[in-house]
C-alpha cells in the first residue's frame, strides 16, 4: 500500500515537472514525435500498399492460370525476339481446354479494348471494354450490385447486353435506374443488364468500376477479336484440390498438343499466375520496409539522445530538491521512479503526437489519392512500444544517477 502511494506520488512529481517546464517539454518531445512519425508513416504506407496489392492480386484469383503470349516476369536474358513470333491465344483453344483439361474447374477467353461509351448526350472516353466468354464469372472474382450476369444463351448467341462498372453507371445515369437502358458502345446499342459492385482503385489497374463487360461473341460485331492489340487471354481456374503447379503441368501438355508442337520445340505460349506478381512485390516491399526502418531508426535514436540529455539537465537542476526529498526519508526507488516516469511520459507524449499526425495524414491522403491507407493496430502498438522503450532506456541512467545522490551533498549543490 505504501509502495502504491509512493508510486502514485512519483507519477505526480513527474507530471508536475513536465507541466512546469512547458517549452523544454515541447522541444524535447519533438525529437520523438518526428522519429515516431517517420517510422510509422513508412510502415503504414508500405503496409497499405502491400494490402492493396494483395487485394488486387486476389481479385485476379490466386488459383487461376493465365494462358498468354507474353510471360509476366522478365529475366535479364529475356529472349523477346522469340516471344514476339508466338501465336496469340485463340477462342478455339478455349473449347479444347474446356473439353480436355481435367484439372480445370472453369475457363474463359477475354479480350480488352479501349472504347467510348455514350448515353444520349453523355459520353465517356477511354472506357475498358472487356469481351469475355460465358464462364468469366467463374474465373474472375467480382460481385454484381444490381441486375444479373449473362445467361448461357446471351453469351453463346452474342446478344447485345452489357454489365457496366459502378462509376460508369453513376456518370451516365445519375438520376435514373440503369437496368434495361441502352448505351452506345462504339456506336452500337447495348442493353445494360447489370452493374458491378464498386471496388475502388486497383493498384494493378483494371478496376471493374470503369469497365463494360459484353459477351465475346457479341464483340465480334464491334471489333476484330483476333487483333494482337486486344491482349487475348485464356483464364483457367483450377478444380478444388488441384494445385496451380499441377494445373500448369497439365495445361503445358494440352497447349503443346493443341498447337501441335514438336517434342523438342520450345513452348510458344506463357502460363502466368498471380504469385509471379506478388513474389516480385514482396522483395520490393522488404527493401522499402528496411529503408524506412533505417531512416526512422536514426530519427528515434536522435530523439532518445535528446530525452537523455534533457533528463540529465533535469536531474542537475533539481539536485537540491532530490537532496531535500531524500533527507525527509524518500527512498532511492522513489527518486528513480520519479525521473523514469518523467522520461517515459515525455517520450510517450511525443509518440502519441507522432501517431496522431500519421492518423490525420492517412485520413487526408486516403481521400486525396483514392486509395485505402490505414494506420493498423500493429503499427499503433509499435509506435507506443518504441516510445516507452526509448523513454525507459534514455531516462534510466539519469534517473539512477539521481537516486544514488548523497542527500547532504545534493542539498549543498548549486
Amino acid at each position: 500500500m505504501v509502495f502504491l502511494g509512493l508510486f502514485r506520488e512519483s507519477i505526480l512529481f513527474a507530471l508536475n515537472a513536465l507541466v512546469v517546464n512547458k517549452l523544454r517539454t515541447f522541444l524535447s518531445l519533438l525529437g520523438i514525435t518526428i522519429g515516431i512519425f517517420a517510422i510509422i508513416t513508412v510502415f503504414t504506407i508500405t503496409d497499405s500498399l502491400e494490402q492493396n496489392l494483395r487485394k488486387s492480386v486476389q481479385s485476379l484469383g490466386d488459383d487461376v492460370v493465365f494462358v498468354e503470349k507474353w510471360p509476366w516476369t522478365f529475366g535479364p536474358d529475356y529472349p523477346w525476339w522469340k516471344y514476339i513470333n508466338r501465336p496469340l491465344p485463340d477462342y478455339t483453344e478455349l473449347d479444347n481446354i474446356l473439353r480436355k483439361c481435367d484439372g480445370a474447374q472453369s475457363a474463359a477467353f477475354t479480350i480488352n479494348a479501349n472504347i467510348t461509351v455514350k448515353y444520349k448526350s453523355s459520353s465517356i472516353e477511354n472506357v475498358t471494354l472487356v469481351c469475355a466468354s460465358h464462364q468469366y464469372d467463374k474465373v474472375k472474382n467480382f460481385e454484381i450490385a444490381e441486375g444479373r450476369y449473362f445467361t448461357d444463351i446471351e453469351s453463346s448467341a452474342g446478344r447485345p447486353v452489357a454489365i457496366i462498372g459502378d462509376v460508369l453507371a453513376h456518370s451516365l445515369f445519375p438520376f435514373q435506374s440503369v437496368l434495361g437502358q441502352f448505351i452506345k458502345v462504339n456506336g452500337a446499342k447495348v442493353m445494360v443488364i447489370g452493374v458491378f459492385k464498386k471496388e475502388g482503385e486497383s493498384i494493378l489497374g483494371g478496376s471493374n468500376d470503369t469497365q463494360v463487360l459484353v459477351p465475346v461473341q457479341y464483340a465480334r460485331s464491334l471489333i476484330d477479336i483476333r487483333s494482337e492489340n486486344l491482349d487475348p487471354v485464356i483464364m483457367v481456374r483450377a478444380k478444388k484440390g488441384i494445385t496451380n503447379d499441377e494445373l500448369i503441368d497439365e495445361l503445358t501438355g494440352l497447349m503443346r498438343s493443341i498447337r501441335k508442337l514438336h517434342p523438342m520445340a520450345d513452348d510458344n505460349f506463357a502460363l502466368n499466375q498471380t504469385s509471379l506478381i506478388s513474389n516480385q512485390f514482396d522483395s520490393l516491399f522488404d527493401i522499402v520496409g528496411v529503408a524506412g526502418w533505417i531512416i526512422g531508426g536514426f530519427s528515434i535514436l536522435v530523439g532518445g539522445f535528446g530525452i537523455a540529455n534533457i533528463m540529465f539537465v533535469s536531474v542537475k537542476e533539481r539536485t537540491n530538491i532530490i537532496g531535500v526529498q531524500k533527507s525527509l526519508g524518500a527512498k532511492n526507488y522513489f527518486i528513480l521512479l520519479q525521473f523514469i516516469f518523467e522520461s517515459v511520459f515525455l517520450s510517450l507524449i511525443g509518440g502519441v503526437i507522432g501517431l496522431l499526425i500519421v492518423y490525420v495524414i492517412t485520413v487526408t491522403a486516403g481521400d486525396t489519392f483514392g486509395m485505402e491507407i490505414t494506420l493498423s493496430r500493429s503499427n499503433i502498438i509499435l509506435g507506443f512500444t518504441i516510445s516507452i522503450l526509448i523513454g525507459l532506456v534514455s531516462g534510466f541512467i539519469p534517473a539512477y544517477g539521481a537516486s544514488q545522490l548523497d542527500p547532504v551533498e545534493a542539498i549543498r549543490a548549486n
Binding site: F43, G296, I381, L382, T385, L389, V393, Y400
Partner: protein, 114 residues
C-alpha cells in the same frame, strides 16, 4: 572497505561494455520489419527484453545484485520467447550462460541495495 569490495572486476567491465554495444544494435532491431512480421505484440516483447537487459547491465556495471538477478530473469524470458517462435540460438545461449556464470561468480562482491 566497502568501496574496495565493490570495485568492479575487469571481466565485468568488459562484459558490460560488450553488453552496452549489443544493446545499441538490438534497439533498432526491436522494430525491424522481420520482428514485426512475427506478430503485433512481438516488437513490444522484444523491446521489453532489450530494455530489461540494458537496465540489468547498468546494475551490474554499478556492482548491484539486482542487476545480476534481472539479467538472469530476462535471459529465461528471452529464451522462452525464442523457443515459442522456434528461433533458438545455441551460440546466444552459450554466451548468455557464460555471462551469467561470471556475474554469479562475483555475486557476493555485489551490493544488495538499489
Amino acid at each position: 572497505m566497502e568501496s574496495a569490495i565493490r570495485k568492479r572486476p575487469l571481466l565485468i567491465t568488459i562484459i558490460c561494455i560488450i553488453g552496452f554495444i549489443w544493446i545499441v544494435f538490438s534497439l533498432p532491431a526491436v522494430f525491424s520489419p522481420s520482428v514485426k512480421k512475427l506478430g503485433d505484440w512481438y516488437p513490444a516483447l522484444f523491446g521489453l527484453i532489450v530494455a530489461s537487459s540494458f537496465i540489468a547491465y547498468i546494475g551490474v556495471w554499478n556492482m548491484k545484485r539486482w542487476g545480476c538477478s534481472l539479467f538472469i530473469i530476462t535471459f529465461f524470458i528471452k529464451e522462452i520467447l525464442l523457443v515459442l517462435i522456434n528461433d533458438i540460438n545455441y551460440v546466444g545461449i552459450v554466451v548468455s550462460v557464460f555471462i551469467i556464470s561470471v556475474m554469479v561468480a562475483f555475486y557476493k562482491r555485489m551490493d544488495m541495495n538499489l
